[in-house]
Subunit: 369 residues, 3 copies
């Protein structure tokens, strides 16, 4: 297969490009709004209002009745100042300008200086977003004033017996799609992260079995032996074959899972939050059960992960700048770009609101690592 | 009354908003160009050229024959460099690039290196703006090359017997309309400026009598007793009923007037200059005749006014950012927003060039303060 | 002649200007892409990739086989990261993200991790630009994937017997046209650079003979005696008549040439590189053969040139800002703006791809200096 991604075939905005034959594509932005995204960690939301942004929507978070997290559009209906400049008063959020008060449902409860009349009313209702507090994170559903029919992703191994975890937050100046493809791409690790994550290519051919079904796509790598890099040495001092899955789950979860024997299990689960079309926050939870002391792992893992991410961040930011500069993406993919186009198909279907299809797709691709 | 302002019903620019149902309005910008605005204080205009901006129009000010202030479009007709980079030569302004010289009327007087030919000519005429120097301010009429039929607003109490005054300049990142409504709005002072300007609400119901006629609208507040805040204590140590007017005069004057008995009189007259659609400079002249020592008042007034303005500035700036973010205003007003919609009507009529109507409107609204 | 430049008659972009009668023109940007421009000095291009920009086109330079300079579009066809973030590997350029390798012709040579299949292919071809290395400069032809039919401009006096030279690089925030007109304009030197380059006007009338033919236009100045400024004193301590030419050669060469007797010869040849519509880099080579010691000249020349350029840079930047502010140029030229409109005609013809005409135009203009 030697084709361009579908993303690259889209129409090009006019007037951006000096040389007509240089571009064909637009950026791979699929705005999946009927979905849950992480907006904060539980401990960040105290008794103050907290501003957050998802898909360019400004949100204000606060804890309402019983300490339940609430999320409203961060704009007072009266004079359009951000409610996050206000204070939490009991179970209500009070605008800092004229003191209007709103409940967790966005309804107006009180207007100071007004002698009579209901405070409530449709013109004074602030759009409100469903929230969940799970695994130490606050999730928000990106469509206001609806009751979600699905629940957020769970970090399954957080708190599982014998497992520890490390949580990191990083920000990529890239589309959600580019950040996700990067997180699940094997070939660049062998090159960009050479020495850190993987070593030099040893010329071993492995097979990627790609399976797409429902809300997800995964690549299972067969024939992979323990790579020589530092992470791998932490995983399994004795070597042996690796069970390795890279997995995307709608709308924005990237899982990288490694097993070596029964003893060693490592799952990097990254929940991505699109702040805007070209800025993505990555909440990464690394859960592990390893034969090496977990205290050591915890100490080594974060700086290592940050160094790897820093290398990716430079590429993603430069890619975004160049895509904007040329008014769109023009990607020439090969068959070893195993997951990117499947992720894009899933994202586009989810953006349209399609229900996950029953179709199961399986394909095999060989890679040299 | 539980309606949105007319401003909120205007059309929305496309493509700015992620959620279709969140916005309806555009910003309340009424570009009144046939009007006088302050561009500088007299002492700022010495023997150098001075740049200023009104409604996004770059101006250059200088003193021409007899020290009279002159205002030209700040662009040389020859090669379009700003004339404010040049020098004043006698009664003429000389461009810094090729040395072309212009009179106070914008006419070209001299072109260096040119052996023959008139310097003057229509293509070399710089648009010139009428000026006035009054009460220590330089005013400019915002339409070039016309003879104004009206004169600038006068600060009536400046220099009146027994009165002193304090002049302040602050800049608000907001529309002229939002800055004006803010300056003349009572409910927010009870909340945002609580403790400074007014104290906590005492639950007293007062009546606002709103009168709109010709070029102005004012609210007279009946039943208001001396508020507990610091400013009021300065005004009247002995308490008593307050005579309080909030007044808007076209195109950009906000007056807040307090009387307590014959002894105490305070007028905050703010002449607003729209630098651009979303940046407004406020020249505030506080004139007062009070029973407390004027030296003390002068010392206390400026820091107090600055602290009050700072609180407003935060709100106005955040409001502007959010209005831009959503591609327009969506304001849900109530009956206690007594002046905003009248100011907007007056501004829009003035923008269209309508003569002030003969109609007199009067309405009464109750507020709790 | 008292007319506006043709540039000023172009259409105006809507919505930029508050006062309808203030502007008529657009900016004088003629994008001549079938032409050579300097992108670097030879010594800057070592064994690393080097980024450069011409007419907004991002380029990556590197040395390929035999040390020959190569120039590619600075964008990897795979995932659109800049190739200038990569490394030079032998005679190939290697992308920093996935390690794809490209030759000097832009062809893809190697894709890591891919077990089979040609690396090459039209979708993986990077547009490549012809290069030349001449007189210590790297030149790039601004249209990709073509064989140029012309060769770059040569700095004829570099290395000529008895001549020395000084090379300077400065950046002007202006169009190529404005930078060129400025470089070849006499009247502003008498005013803006008064005391440095020229002294006060001595009221001497000289004649400019303007000749336009083929790819160039020049003004020869007759009757000019040694000006009193510092540069002139360096040139000729004994005074006498000056032979002075100002010359524009397509697409972007400005030559200022002075002779005083047989002994003194000075040529300021500036090759301009349009980085974008409103940013121009000026590579100035001052070649000279003078009776004063060359060591002294070399020491004095650079700071003097920089001071002169700094004065021009302030004007050019302010001019650009104002032209953008008004949505276009509105220039009122006179007959002593001898070269600007001819340069514009040549640039526009070259932008359209017209062959240089056979017509020879000659006109005479008087100036007072």
């Amino acid at each position: 297969m030697d084709e361009n991604d579908e993303a690259s075939r889209a129409k090009l905005p006019a007037g951006v490009v000096p040389l007509k034959n240089l571009t064909r594509g637009q950026a791979s932005v699929a705005k999946v709004l009927q979905a849950w995204y992480i907006v904060a960690r539980s401990h960040e939301l105290t008794d103050n209002a907290l501003a957050a942004t998802v898909w360019d929507i400004p949100l204000v978070l606060f804890r309402g009745a019983g300490g339940q997290p609430a999320a409203l559009l961060d704009r007072c209906p009266h004079r359009n100042v951000p409610l996050s400049l206000g204070q939490v008063a009991g179970a209500e959020l009070q605008c800092g300008y004229h003191g209007w008060r709103f409940g967790a449902d966005g309804g107006c409860r009180f207007i100071p200086s007004r002698p009579t009349g209901d405070a409530d009313g449709p013109a004074r209702k602030v759009p409100s977003f469903a929230t969940r507090e799970l695994d130490g994170f606050i999730w928000v559903y990106a469509t206001p004033d609806v009751t979600p029919t699905v629940e957020p992703y769970r970090f399954a191994l957080m708190g599982a017996p014998g497992y520890d975890h490390v949580v990191s937050l990083v920000t990529a100046e890239s589309t959600l799609h580019a950040a996700t493809e990067n997180a699940l791409d094997v070939p660049h690790t062998a090159f960009l992260h050479k020495g850190l994550f993987r070593g030099d290519s040893r010329g071993v051919t492995i097979t990627a079995v790609v399976r797409r079904s429902g809300d997800r796509v995964e690549a299972q790598y067969l024939g992979e032996s323990r790579p020589p890099g530092l992470v791998a040495r932490l995983l399994s001092p004795s070597g042996g074959e690796v069970t390795h899955y890279d997995r995307f789950i709608l709308p924005s979860i990237a899982e990288v899972e490694y097993r070596m024997g029964d003893e060693n299990h490592l799952l990097v689960a990254t929940a991505m939050t699109p702040v805007s079309d070209f800025v993505t926050r990555l909440w990464a939870v690394v859960s592990f059960r390893l034969r090496v002391p977990h205290t050591l792992v915890k100490r080594a893992l974060k700086p290592l992960a940050m160094q790897i991410f820093q290398q990716d961040a430079v590429m993603l930011k430069a890619q975004t700048a160049l895509v904007k500069r040329f008014g769109g993406e023009q990607f020439a993919s090969t068959e070893i770009d195993v997951l990117g186009r499947h992720i894009w198909r899933l994202l586009r279907a989810a953006e349209r609101g399609d229900a996950p299809g029953a179709e199961v797709l399986e394909e095999r691709v060989e890679l040299v690592v």
